[in-house]
Symmetry: D2
Subunit: 344 residues, 4 copies
């Protein structure tokens, strides 16, 4: 194979740089350009040490460049929809970080543009590539647990984001739990029909100031009658806590956290082991590599990506139902969110 995929990266923050370094190990691939609103000397240094030729502040320099086959959209959420539309228009394949947007109607417009242009769009639901969650999915898909009856997900961050971010985050259901809503669909293989959200402010009153909560338990009802439950917190002092279990008619499959080591230290004062890997960069390091490898592999070999725009849209719809349920203090069906949104 002599093909060489040429990549542009839009947004060179932490996650953009991680995708870049992950891609460097992949053969038949060249990172051609990086754009960032705040591109300066530091970014130029960074790019030079990696042999990336072009650094620009204007994403249009990439989008208009006919050499570039695909773009990674790693900029802030509010830029996603216009960038997707423009990239699609230019015939470029797209990898976009989650969520696509904070407004389902906008998300749907972006998906329509992608559909019309016939380009590929992969959404950054990296957890689908995590070795543990993948393994649950494999067991469930293989029928090892029979028919899914209960889906349980625990999702806790090590510490809340800064107050500035909380204000614009879209709230816990969209900002944080969107990953978990995607996991619920991915792990069970079923669509969600109804959502009940219970929330509290127990970590920091700043969440209440912005109409948000920091602790939430969301109950899901799946199309097959199975029940899902996600418990979520903005602050687990011991580190990132990401576990899941699917229970069914023939058994159960569960995964726990990853740890820096398996070392167990037994002393007079007790038995100690490592805290979980601290946060998503550590926990999902390999998952980021694999989602990138898959995207590139799909482009190189003309295969459809496995986490597409519809997956992004469905997770956003569940998040919206959760927001509405929390506001209305009652269970909300996905079938009623469009109507309720108008009224609330």
């Amino acid at each position: 194979m002599n093909k060489l995929i040429k990549i542009g990266i839009i947004g060179a923050g932490r996650i953009g740089k991680i995708h870049a370094d992950n891609m460097r190990r992949i053969p038949h691939l060249e990172i051609v350009a990086v754009s960032d609103l705040y591109a300066g000397d530091e970014l130029r240094e960074w790019a030079k040490a990696r042999g990336i030729a072009t650094v620009t502040q204007d994403s249009e320099d990439l989008l208009a460049n006919p050499d570039i086959d695909a773009v990674f959209i790693c900029s802030s959420t509010d830029t996603h929809v216009p960038l997707i539309k423009r990239a699609a228009q230019q015939g470029k394949h797209i990898f976009c970080e989650k969520p696509i947007s904070m407004d389902i109607r906008q998300t749907e417009e972006a998906l329509e543009a992608v559909r019309k242009a016939g380009v590929q769009l992969q959404v950054g639901f990296n957890r689908r590539f995590d070795h543990n969650f993948k393994r649950i999915r494999e067991h469930v898909a293989a029928g090892a647990i029979g028919e899914a009856q209960v889906v349980k997900i625990t999702s806790r961050d090590p510490s809340p984001p800064p107050a500035d971010y909380i204000k614009v985050s879209g709230g816990i259901f969209l900002d944080m739990m969107i990953h978990d809503f995607d996991m619920a669909r991915f792990l069970s293989g079923y669509e969600v029909e109804e959502v009940y959200a219970q929330g509290s402010v127990l970590v920091d009153p700043v969440f209440a100031e912005h109409g948000d909560v920091d602790t939430a338990v969301v109950t899901l009802r799946f199309e097959n009658g199975a029940i899902g439950v996600i418990d979520c917190s903005r602050k687990a002092v011991y580190g990132y806590d990401q576990r899941a279990e699917v229970f069914g008619s023939k058994g159960s499959v569960a995964v726990v956290n990853d740890f820096p080591s398996s070392a167990v230290l037994s002393t007079e004062s007790g038995v100690w082991s490592d805290k979980p890997l601290h946060f998503f960069l550590e926990r999902y390091n390999q998952a980021y590599i694999e989602e990138t490898e898959l995207f590139i592999d799909c482009l190189l070999n003309g295969k459809p990506v496995s986490v597409d725009g519809q997956d992004g849209r469905q997770a956003e719809r569940i998040a919206l139902a959760a927001q509405l349920s929390h506001k209305l203090k009652r269970p909300v069906k996905l079938a009623e969110i469009e109507e309720l949104r108008e009224r609330v």
Copy 2:
């Protein structure tokens, strides 16, 4: 100490016999009599091999016997309230299996009789004596996890009861989850204020025939704003599944199942370990011993029992709220159950 506690056992089914054998090891105690509606040759043989003098079909033979200090009520649930009232009247201390009754008003009448007579009443919430759940409670009470924020309980039986029993069981919320509702209070140290119950029939349609469900997820709201979630199933093919976790501002404490052994068998086809202890008799074997020892110790030393009638009543109230929530398809506050019960 020359004291000798004399015990009568009412109901010599499986659990009555277990309590008897557990008591035999305790010094300063004599089992004087056993009553059972169906007492016959087999029970007399059983009693003889254990040096128990009296076997009778009539519980009144025990209750009227002035030699007996305390009774263990191990007969069917519908007999609990009249037996408690009569035993209280006779000044006997009482150990009663859970639930006290299926009707809170009757439960309250029984508690009133106990109060007036000034006897002790311990309710058979054996799980409070389980080494694992006790250890969670100790950590929480010691402040090790700070303020409780999320309480999670998993409660799955290895197989559903017979159809005959399902009909008279009182339903999953009262029959099975009453233990879990007690655990929620015990582990967190807080009272429950609101309940939302989601249920499905996924195991066996016979549950639907009796207006019952076999799979349920119940969300609890505690007085301090913490959120609890209990997932419950009538059938886990791999055995009894009883786990819990309390998450708080300073950390988390979690326990898993008990297993017959820690043996791990690694072979070409995979890594195997034992299934959990099969059901409550195996899992809570030691807990049954300890609840009995504590009851006898309280009688011998004049101390108040630690799991009393109010604990029995509160768990029944949560169960009723869950029943109402499931029927009304909305969250139900404990403060409204009396009123709702009249209306529904």
Copy 3:
């Protein structure tokens, strides 16, 4: 069954009392008498609260009592051989704590007396009844790991015995590792042919004063070519450490310690769990019950006991080979111990 087994207990120290309480729960059994050199008011109180009629300082009062079917020898090691001989002569079945003696010739004399009298002798190798070690044996016996190739045993006490005891203990190989030598035979199902012992004094110089060591690693060669290794220490600050593994042609089976609970506490400063059960009374509590139940069951039903005098003798022979190896600084075959003992 109307049979009633009558028991006498010789030696009412800690272990004698534990056997007594374990037996009290067993139906068809009566503890008739207890003897102890230092029997006094306290022991009489203890016996009275348990309905044991006779307390005496002279073991002959039990051995001469024709009502007694079986004796438990729980007195100090130097009394075992004469008591076994006398009990055998009187036709009583015998449960004897380990080791039978510190001199194989004396042990063999005792076994000969037992053989001639046709009574049963069970040796107190309680670990064979431990749920974990039993499970290894079951897997190995069932062929789950194929042919045994490597046997690994870890055996560490929480703290060394008092200096007075060290002097008369017989040394680490006989006093402590005799259990492990029995385990090696039990778990693998093979006899040991050669022993190499490496020892150090790392815990307390008092061991060196008595020609003993406190840390030892013993390598065993089994008759089938498998290799065994036991690491042993007199002091593990975190508690009793008793693990084992058998590795073979089709896999491996391993067990770890038992813990007071499965509670895992995750906090900012790390992840904590319980230390192992502290010492043999906690760890082998259930094993003591089961070895007693089995002994009584064998007597009630006329079945041969499963841990007999030959097992006691073989473990003592391995211990002697280890002593000789440590002294001679070379591997020692079991076939040469009689000859070497004369020369060393």
Copy 4:
């Protein structure tokens, strides 16, 4: 930093290619050339997709190239010593796979050449970079377990190498256990003084044909009196088994295997989990990355490497002592290996 390290790779077999891909992700580094005796079209394709300019069959093309700063010696063991000498002569820094050679005198000659040339030499003891073993070392070095008393290492391959390789492998002690001998030094922080090796042929008679064994238990005596024990097998049907424990005066630290996932599948037939990562490429994937990163970092920043030629030599000396012990059937001191080697 504008520095750019230029690398040549000698030997492009499996491990050479892995090092190459691991280096590609590192900034400030360029792989300039690859040599392999069997270099052909396939290797040229491989190099092209990675932007590596030169592919040659002659390692001298690299060694004579003044542009190259450092070489990775990944060719067969018999070529290591001449290549090290020549690279040192040319002033190139060296990363060399283990063992340096099969003859300590030759190893010492190579080390002398390195010393004279003043270049860096890192030996490929990749396990020192494994997250688990590193963590043991950290705890031991921090004093968490006090003074080391017992060191335990389990080392089992998933399957034996081909018969052709066995013949030239140098035997189990040098070929396979050399890693474990290095671990024993690394984990404990002490030198080994005496070795006793016990071996059996239990896996495949082909080992006996070449005077080798496939199952071995080696006991080590450290300079501080601590005792080490390594059990080793050429065939664990369940996969690569690499565990270690250091036990000391203040506690113990132990690590277990790594697994593809933490998934636990509970079904009617038992509880299943993943087999360990299959072999060294999977298990030590991250360790290979980190040893490479460290080597490059040392070159970029002029720091001494942390696993040097002396470490390579010491491990080879322990292996030789084990070979001699196995042959002589007695413990062998490291101080006597030179003398014994002449005589045996």
